[in-house]
């Protein structure tokens, strides 16, 4: 029911020019309609961020739901003008994801599933999935702040000042975290190059 209906309402979105914050405050005052608008606006980005960091659909969906739940809960206490809703959500999702990655560290690394011999496009899809899972597993091995900075910079494509606001640190710290994180990531991934098909030319 909901997504299709939400998309229908989006066409005539009465809140098109209303900020996320204003909607959140309206939600806190008990306007149920705005919850749908907020969900439609925010959930896709949250889910994408979680999916990029975790490379696991079920886990990413749980994180996305959890992040939205925290948003609903903080709504009555939201302090106007203090932070942007999106900035706050980036931070919550990054934290929830590194929590998940930390738990993954203690589990034996999954053997990456071999692509079954089938059509090339399916094999390529499988390889992409295996690669992204390998990237996520490598992120799990980084210190959490490094993993968050690297993910926000390279998976979300955010600028250093944006990341600084999300992580509540200086731009210089962001630069140092991303540089160290990327180096560490490269070192971890170097060992899996052949396995992930980066020995040969890029299959496209």
């Amino acid at each position: 029911m909901p997504l299709a209906r939400l998309q229908m309402t989006a066409v005539s979105d009465p809140y098109a020019h209303t900020s996320d914050e204003a909607l959140l405050l309206a939600y806190a005052k008990g306007d149920p309609r705005v919850a749908e608008t907020l969900t439609l606006r925010l959930l896709p980005r949250i889910l994408a961020q979680a999916m990029r960091m975790l490379a696991d659909k079920t886990e990413a969906e749980d994180v996305a739901q959890d992040a939205m739940l925290r948003l609903w809960r903080i709504a009555p206490d939201w302090r106007q003008g203090e932070a942007q809703v999106t900035t706050w959500l980036y931070r919550v999702v990054a934290n929830l994801c590194t929590d998940r990655l930390r738990k993954r560290r203690h589990v034996a690394l999954d053997a990456v599933a071999e692509p079954p011999d089938s059509t090339p496009s399916v094999a390529a899809q499988m390889q992409t999935r295996a690669r992204l899972r390998a990237l996520s597993d490598a992120l799990a091995q980084l210190p959490e702040r490094q993993a968050q900075a690297v993910a926000l910079r390279h998976l979300e494509g955010l600028s250093n000042p944006q990341i600084a606001a999300i992580m509540d640190i200086s731009v210089t710290s962001v630069e140092s975290l991303t540089a160290r994180g990327k180096r560490a990531l490269a070192a971890i991934m170097a060992g899996r190059k052949a396995e992930l098909g980066y020995d040969n030319d890029e299959p496209t």
Binding site: M1, P2, L3, A4, L6, Y27, A28, P32, A35, E36, L38, T39, L43, P44, L47, A48, M51, R52, A55, K57, A60, E61, A64, Q65, M68, L69, W72, R73, A75, P76, D77, T128, R131, L132, A134, L135, H154, L155, E156, G157, K182, L185, A186, A187, M189, A190, K193, L196, Y198, E202
Partner: protein, 116 residues
């Protein structure tokens, strides 16, 4: 030395692939999120009575007992100091000072009523 660095090329390619990941939330997930949103949320910060807040801060009822005992002991030592405490206070302060709490000149020190 060339500009390209093989592991970084791999990483940059992986990052680019990851950035393309943009799944649409499926209906089940949207339904879960909206169900959470429909659940009544707390209206404001929990308004605990001050006594309950204090109790929470100092660690529950048992702490109140010790706190009360310590307070009573402190007040009693102030009113009727045992000789050892008096001697110690003397050696520390040089002299005992007594102040009549209800004397007019104390309440109106500096020319103004203290509670004014």
């Amino acid at each position: 030395m060339t500009m390209t660095n093989p592991p970084d090329d791999m990483l940059d390619d992986l990052f680019a692939q990851a950035r393309k990941v943009a799944p649409d939330p499926d209906d089940a997930l949207v339904a879960r999120v909206l169900a959470d949103a429909a659940r009544p949320q707390r209206k404001a910060t929990p308004a605990l009575p001050w006594l309950a807040q204090l109790r929470g801060m100092i660690g529950g009822w048992p702490a109140f007992g010790s706190l009360a005992a310590a307070t009573v002991a402190g007040v009693w030592i102030g009113i009727a100091p045992p000789p050892a405490v008096e001697d110690y206070a003397l050696s520390l302060l040089g002299d005992t000072v007594s102040i009549d709490l209800f004397a007019d000149d104390f309440l109106t020190e500096a020319g103004e009523p203290a509670d004014g």
